[in-house]
């Protein structure tokens, strides 16, 4: 049976009709294009009346295919698919031609615009003739959720979901949850104590019936798809039995080996070989660091084992593997601080009294290595002057082009802490001060009143080479003060480098493991930068917090909660529809060459050894079509983007060449506007 195609050309008010002669286009389509039985132009196709038109024509004219020439399919493809469905037509018997975004909005010449619109419609009509009816498939959603990373964003997401009654696995690679926030003393701009607001949430996580905390664990493998992920993780050996340990801490007290804590204390403090990162750590169980433990080094000691009242120390413990089935995954893997040694002229690592922001956070922390005293590297001398250098590694084409978002506010907070706790003068060397959230600008005003000095200019160098007696024994900050237009040398005792937030070193590997993508910088990419900020292109995998880009605590919390809300939506619906745009293999044509197997980044193609053919797991296929293009036997078909459809579209788009024997079609006189 010959297909009956309806073509609808939208005016979009004057958006399209102002440039394209829509009536002529519709008349032309009806007269020239094979299969077209109805062609209409209409003011607003997306209006309910426009949709009604499609529906009525399907019923009355017996249309079997529909083409709407209007805006981008990203805007209204779904609308018109619904209209087709309402008329009793399979929604995939529909094709859209984008004559607004691709024609009327980008072309001034009416004749050329009209011609291009005709060709796009010819392409759509020829394509739609080859469309096939498709049905989205439905799969159930497992109620369990895995959250990876237990900083503030992950904790928030876990608590939201758990409070809503859903089971959560919270996975953290470090021995304790809390993330970077646990290292801070105060939080800007309200100067709440970070521990006072974070540790209650940590205890809630620990005590919650719906949260299974998997600390000191890492995800090794993820397979499956939305609603039905299968995860394998490695639970690293703590050498402490969690079932018998009471968390009394005697083992830590008795351990004779003290080492510098490079992680939690940022190298400023010490910990034992058996340790908890900080007193309020969750879970409370300590962990043995085998690199520094005397027993693991020399085979003797076992002081912890001797003193442990419950016999929880287990030197024989091994890493164990766990398998989880979850419906959704939230990634909240956080950031790392820019390695300040990468800017050698700032002297970090060479000049003792140059500190990173994270080191200063620990120093300012009342529970930190100096008990909150702000002192030079010697541990006793209070600085008389402190320089805070902004944008270290950020807003810098040699390192990261982006603004790291939080450092201005953190620098103001540091300024406040120094002014509050010492007699020192504080200088901030900034490019711009950025304070775009509630209460932030007010905090900046407050610091100006408190007497922090602001010097606008990017610091060129920090050096200990004195040029005058006043500079002896000081660190000199060399900077061009761009407000007065002069070079300045500012001698100080202490320098704090506001390092940029960076993606985790293994962000790209993690992205590949979870099937999501990273930007050039290495931040995870959201589904839409404005309208879908916590979803990713992989259904069922969400992102929250700083793994998506630099942001502060309120931003991370909001994203954690948002991700939880999205997951809850999936869980309460119970099933998900999967777009039928997937590839399939005609096994009678498949030669079993396995070329496609390696091309698929989602491991959706399995080779069946016995049958000697490959088979696609529909639920894993994302429909990119790479295997379709690669199959040497033409055995793979990409639904809704098959060879026939695309070839027909190419032919349609070149209608003018094919129907005028290569000569240019004379441009029609445009009708008066």
């Amino acid at each position: 049976m010959a297909e009956r195609v309806g073509v609808y050309v939208c005016h979009c008010g004057s958006n399209i009709a102002g440039v394209v002669d829509v009536e002529a286009v519709a008349r032309w389509a009806e007269a020239n294009l094979e299969g077209v039985v109805v062609a209409r132009d209409y003011k607003f196709m997306c209006s309910s009346l426009g949709q009604e038109l499609v529906k009525e024509d399907i019923e009355k004219e017996g249309l079997t295919r529909v083409v709407v020439a209007a805006c981008s399919p990203h805007l209204h493809e779904k609308t018109f698919r619904r209209a087709c469905a309402a008329g009793g037509l399979n929604p995939y018997y529909f094709q859209m031609a984008s004559i607004r975004e691709q024609v009327s909005w980008v072309t001034e010449d009416r004749a050329q615009a009209t011609q291009k619109a005709k060709m796009l419609i010819a392409g759509a009509v020829q394509r739609v003739l080859h469309h096939q009816a498709l049905e989205p498939s439905q799969v159930p959603v497992n109620e369990h959720t895995m959250i990876v990373g237990a900083g503030i964003a992950g904790i928030q997401a876990a608590l939201e979901l758990a409070d809503a009654g859903h089971p959560v696995y919270l996975v953290e690679r470090e021995p304790s949850i809390g993330g970077h926030m646990a290292q801070f003393d105060k939080t800007f701009p309200t100067l709440d104590c970070a521990a006072c607001i974070l540790t209650p949430k940590m205890s809630d996580v620990d005590a919650h019936d719906n949260i299974k905390l998997l600390s000191y664990s890492e995800v090794e493998e993820v397979s499956g798809f939305i609603g039905n992920f299968h995860v394998r993780l490695r639970k690293k050996a703590r050498y402490v039995d969690e079932d018998t340990c009471t968390g009394c801490g005697i083992c830590i007290e008795k351990c004779p080996k003290k080492v510098v804590d490079e992680v939690f204390e940022a190298g400023l403090g010490y910990r034992k070989a058996i340790y908890r990162p900080f007193p309020q750590a969750v879970p409370k169980y300590p962990v043995i660091d085998t690199e520094s433990c005397i027993y693991f080094e020399r085979g003797t000691c076992k002081a912890c084992e001797k003193f442990c009242p419950t016999g929880a120390i287990d030197f024989e413990q091994q890493d164990s593997m766990m398998e989880l089935d979850v419906g959704n995954i939230v990634l909240a893997t956080g950031f790392r601080l820019f390695d300040c040694t990468r800017i050698p002229q700032y002297g970090y690592g060479r000049l003792a009294n140059v500190f990173t922001s994270l080191e200063f956070e620990r120093m300012g922390n009342a529970a930190g290595p100096t008990g909150g005293r702000i002192v030079l590297r010697d541990g006793v001398t209070e600085p008389k002057s402190v320089a805070i250098v902004h944008c270290v590694g950020s807003r810098d084409s040699r390192h990261h082009p982006y603004c790291s978002a939080v450092c201005c506010m953190a620098a103001l907070k540091f300024g406040h802490l120094v002014l509050e706790r010492t007699q020192a003068e504080v200088y901030s060397f900034y490019i711009d001060i950025r304070t775009p959230q509630k209460g932030y600008e007010e905090f900046y005003d407050r610091l100006q009143e408190e007497g922090m000095h602001f010097v606008r200019g990017r610091v060129a160098e920090i050096t200990d080479a004195a040029r005058s007696p006043g500079e002896e024994g000081k660190l000199i900050v060399q900077v061009e003060d761009t407000l007065i237009g002069r070079q300045r040398r500012v001698p100080v005792d202490m320098v704090i480098l506001m390092g940029a937030m960076e993606p985790r070193l293994d962000a790209k590997e993690v992205a590949v493991r979870f099937g999501i993508s990273c930007s050039m910088d290495g931040w995870f990419i959201e589904r839409h930068p404005k309208l879908d900020p916590v979803a990713t292109m992989t259904d069922g995998v969400f992102i929250a917090g700083t793994c998506q880009g630099p942001k502060d605590i309120p931003g991370s919390v909001a994203q954690g909660a948002a991700a939880a809300a999205r997951v809850q939506g999936m869980i309460s619906r119970g099933t998900v529809l999967i777009e039928p745009v997937v590839a399939s293999i005609d096994e009678s044509k498949c030669s079993g060459c396995r070329i496609c197997n390696d091309l698929c980044p989602f491991n959706a193609i399995d080779y069946l050894e016995q049958e000697g053919v490959s088979r696609i797991q529909t639920a894993l296929c994302k429909g990119c079509g790479t295997c379709v293009a690669a199959c040497p036997s033409g055995a793979i078909t990409g639904a809704h983007f098959n060879d026939e459809q695309i070839m027909a579209e190419i032919e349609g788009l070149l209608y003018d060449v094919l129907h005028t024997n290569g000569a240019q079609a004379p441009a029609e006189e445009p009708a008066p506007a």
């Binding site: 980008v106 930068p529 079509g625």
Partner: protein, 165 residues
């Protein structure tokens, strides 16, 4: 037909996630560019079978543009690298067939790069305008270049795929 009035016909294969959205953005931002590229949406540049490109040229297109996400930003992780490989192979094939390789262009354009995509389209249109009509369709019947192209393509396709992904 004189060169002044020659309006090249270019077929564009744009990936759904980055470049098609860049085209949308160029529209929303009312960036005017040459109306010579007729766009086909594919889910990914990885879907662009080299035969599509040859088919377009054989049917009368004067040039073909393939546009997708920047390397490392592919929504299917790495499939644009496969497009890149096929592009190199295609250029080689076109060269062998005596067709100017500038008639084929691979353009990276993220969803935020409407202006860049528009500029690339205008630039390519001018390039192809200078090259003149391809008229492959009128010519290939006379010789066996189309067959040659397909054969050469199939051979190179097979060779290229011997390298593991």
């Amino acid at each position: 037909m004189s060169d002044e009035t020659f309006e090249p016909r270019i077929v564009g294969f744009l990936c759904n996630w980055c470049s098609y959205r860049a085209a949308d953005l160029a529209g929303t931002a009312r960036i005017h560019y040459a109306p010579n590229v007729r766009i086909i949406r594919t889910m990914c540049t990885g879907r662009v079978d080299p035969t599509f490109v040859l088919k377009a040229l054989a049917l009368g297109a004067d040039g073909v543009m393939i546009a997708g996400c920047h390397p490392g930003e592919c929504h299917y992780l790495e499939q644009n690298f496969k497009a890149l490989r096929r592009y190199q192979m295609l250029k080689h094939t076109l060269r062998a067939l005596g067709i100017e390789e500038k008639r084929l262009r691979l353009q990276w354009a993220s969803a935020a790069e409407g202006a860049q995509l528009a500029a690339a389209i205008s630039e390519m249109t001018e390039t192809v305008r200078r090259l003149g009509p391809l008229n492959w369709r009128d010519n290939w019947d006379e010789g066996d270049r189309y067959e040659q192209a397909i054969e050469s393509l199939a051979r190179e396709h097979a060779e290229a795929l011997e390298v593991p992904a």
